[in-house]
Amino acid sequence: MTDRGVSVALSYVLTLAITTLLISGLLFATANVVGDRQESVTRTELQVVGERVSASLMTADRLVQSGASTVIVEVPAPQRVAGEGYSIALNATGGEVVLSTGDPAVVVRVPFRNETVVATSEANGGDVEIVFADDGELEVRSA
């Protein structure tokens, strides 16, 4: 007697619809959380790698200034950042190391100070080396 005037089909549809709404909302939020985390982790990792490259660049700069004919500094770096490949570039005019990934598109810039001329150059993510090249400029190369 408690279910007079209740349509079975309507109950069915209502239950499904509400459940689906709730569930999709939940999944959407979870996916967002993971996406956010990924971007934040990517940014942090690129920052760390960038600081290492910058520090090695400044070490190489100091060695060249103290009178060296050849300097090669190895910088160990992870192959992928948060599952994404990335690239390391030196921006001579801006005096910064630029690291970028494709998807999600994250760009991190780490500044450096130099006395030796730096050549604008680029290398893929992974172990790289800072080389004082024959043309008298510092550049980054894949190790």
């Binding site: 109950s11 069915y12 520090a55 500094v73």
Partner: protein, 324 residues
């Protein structure tokens, strides 16, 4: 009762959507965990110390420079009169230093090397008169050339005493003809001379004049004292700065050094130059004034330093006794 399931048994397969959702969320969480794993790795990477090998490379360079400088000073103090002997002693010493540093750095996993085949050892000469006597050669020549082909001068100090030997005059022509002087002449024929005499008019016991090329001698300093300590490298007389003593504007390297009228003055001198073309027959044995010592003037060392994280090559010039 609500009839959601197809089979309709009471409650046994309700909520399959919720189960599926739970599974999907669980899988997503696993992906999140993998992501956070890389974050942990990054934090670990960030906590590693900054690369020290730059400092170690500079330390190696400093070690070699200090060792070779001490070696050169020790060998020069031996008082060789043969350039080949002192050259060879220094070279053998550098080989020893290289062997020892290579071994001790290899224990730490670093390869260091002095490139011996590209090493350059430059001979030099130290000419000295340590007892007070006339500025003559060992056989009594009063006008004589001490050394030719001088490319660099490390020290050039003379002490001339104001005794009766100095020519008393103030006339330019007498100074130029008869006073004791040191002549520097380069390969283009330019001449620069410094004269020492006693100034008759002012009554000063000792005076110094400079003559450039064919001009006339100009008095630049005089004093009523016991001696004049002339330093042609620091451009001082008795520790006073005298800018007219700067001969490098007028004389180019290589040049030669000669004394004239050496019997008209008494004193001592200590001259160290980069040249091996000394007139050996004009000097006595080491210790017997005037004498010369065959020395090593400077050494150019190509260095190589290689560690797992750094490759460093440079050429250092070791010249003990030179200001930085």
């Amino acid at each position: 009762m609500a009839d959601v399931g197809i089979r309709g048994a009471a409650g046994s397969d309700r909520g399959q959507l919720i189960l599926v959702t739970g599974l999907i969320i669980a899988v997503t969480m696993v992906a999140l965990v993998l992501l956070l794993n890389t974050a942990i790795y990054t934090e670990n990477l960030a906590s590693r110390g900054a690369d020290q090998s730059g400092r170690e490379a500079i330390e190696y360079r400093g070690t070699v420079v200090e060792g070779v400088a001490g070696l050169i000073e020790a060998e020069n103090a031996q008082g060789y009169d043969d350039y080949t002997k002192v050259w060879r002693s220094v070279r053998d010493g550098v080989v020893q230093i290289d062997n020892r540093t290579s071994r001790s750095y290899a224990l730490g996993g670093t390869v260091v090397r002095i490139n011996r085949s590209a090493m350059d050892i430059h001979n030099g000469t130290a000419m000295r008169q340590t007892s007070e006597q006339a500025f003559e050669s060992n056989s009594g020549d009063t006008d004589w050339t001490l050394i030719t082909g001088v490319k660099e001068t490390r020290s050039f100090s003379m002490t001339v005493t104001s005794d009766n030997n100095l020519i008393p005059t103030n006339e330019t022509m007498v100074v130029q003809d008869r006073a004791f002087n040191v002549t520097l002449k380069d390969e283009d024929g330019h001449r620069w001379q410094v004269y020492v005499y006693a100034n008759e008019t002012s009554g000063d016991d000792i005076a110094v004049a400079v003559r450039i090329g064919g001009g006339s001698a100009q008095e630049i300093w005089s004093d009523d004292g016991d001696d004049a300590r002339i330093d042609l490298n620091k451009h001082t007389i008795n520790d006073q700065s005298v800018s007219e003593l700067n001969w490098s504007d007028d004389i180019t390297d290589p040049h030669e050094i000669a004394f004239s009228n050496g019997d008209e003055a008494n004193g001592r001198y200590n001259i160290t130059v980069k040249s091996a073309s000394v007139e050996k027959s004009d000097f006595n044995d080491v210790g017997d004034s005037p004498y010369y010592v065959a020395i090593v003037y400077s050494v150019d060392l190509p260095l190589h330093y290689e560690s797992p994280t750094l490759t460093y090559e440079t050429t250092v010039r070791v010249a003990p006794g030179e200001p930085e």
